[in-house]
Symmetry: C2
Subunit: 244 residues, 2 copies
Amino acid sequence: MAAKAFRKPLSRERVLTAAVALVDTQGIQALTMRRLAADLHVEAMSLYYHLADKEALLDGVVETVVAEIGAAVGRVGETGGDRSWRTRLREQFLAARQVMLGHPWVPGVLSGRRSIPAGVIAYYDSIVGTLVGAGFSYHLAHRALHAFGSLPLGFAQEIFSPASAGGDVAADAGLVAQADADPAARAEVDPAAMAATMPYLTKMMAAEIHDAADPTLGWCDSQVEFEFTVNLLLDGLDRLRVDR
Amino acid sequence: MAAKAFRKPLSRERVLTAAVALVDTQGIQALTMRRLAADLHVEAMSLYYHLADKEALLDGVVETVVAEIGAAVGRVGETGGDRSWRTRLREQFLAARQVMLGHPWVPGVLSGRRSIPAGVIAYYDSIVGTLVGAGFSYHLAHRALHAFGSLPLGFAQEIFSPASAGGDVAADAGLVAQADADPAARAEVDPAAMAATMPYLTKMMAAEIHDAADPTLGWCDSQVEFEFTVNLLLDGLDRLRVDR
DNA sequence: ACCTGAACACCGTTCAAGT
DNA sequence: ACCTGAACACCGTTCAAGT
């Protein structure tokens, strides 16, 4: 029919781009073969011509975001100036974070993957290059890589704000535990009970909110936390490094 | 019938214990309502009497492991001696890690959860208590919490060995990328090509394997990496802390 | 109070068949 | 070369019904 003639043929790339867009807007649980196919105006079975199975789809989706990070990090590298290794890595990690902010579901998906995208390996290779170029032994560079964890990819292991889950972000405004199947194990929203079950966190929140300029802005600024952690690690490594 | 009389009634706790055991042995993808019910010699629908839905099951499963960590960390606290805050936290994190080694799928599940188990909050609260007791400001304690990430729970964000996926662990022996749907993006296993696509990592591996006592043991000792990262953070925080 | 059978909507995937 | 229809096995979940 006529409509058919007007649509571009599918390709692995088009499928993956559509998949990333779908997850960005609808959350990870919306990523089904049938749903994705519908977005592409195609039958679910058509996808199998371009991707082996859903595992391959997930791998490809991660790979696509990693490529986007690689591009952003590359642009940082192009900027002139003879910055220190610390500044360069810091800028790279922060650039990666900017990309990651648009795909908050990636940490969750990545941690479930069994294979490492090739792009990730190339990226971490370049980091080792930066480190040894700055006088790191290969041994320390190796330790550094593990210590960095996912920071080079722009995200930290955040226990308290798992935005990874594509659900409602409104729920995790504070440190208050959400509804749980077992009433006995649930943290109370009642301030008095809260102070009883988590006395130090309560005082900490009070102190932080008092210090903050705008108390309504929320008390966990993840940008600040991210930069603090990056600097903490970079400073610590700098002290351990053997200058040449 | 007779068999029925011999089996204990179900309970939320029994269901969760069975669920953890199932995932430990069969992997996370084996955790289905029907499969879990079969393990308990019951119909799938019976589970809904004890758990609201599968989300509640996953929450409960995480909660169960967190409780196990809490118990292990508690035992560390009981040991006498006036150890420094650094030693105490280090021991706690390592104790948590011992528990986590038996449940390598937890990081993956936890990162997908939308709510934080109450036990996690209580645990992090006690960490804040340790920190402020050692002279930390609440502000620095807050930063420290975020910097720690998941280390207090006994695992690091491991990009290179995602054992989280309940699948085959044999595949992630090194830094070599697994099979990928796109041949062009796949890292080659051919050593020469490997050296070309990841020159620094290749040299790093060579240096590390040369230094290691037993080269066959594998070159990423996650216990050592874990302790290094913990110490790096604790040392860095110690320098930022205001002694009283 | 605790468990179940039948049924529903929705998955991923295969395979032979269309153009 | 690229896409599809029909079918299969397997999900989570509801609901009325059993004991």
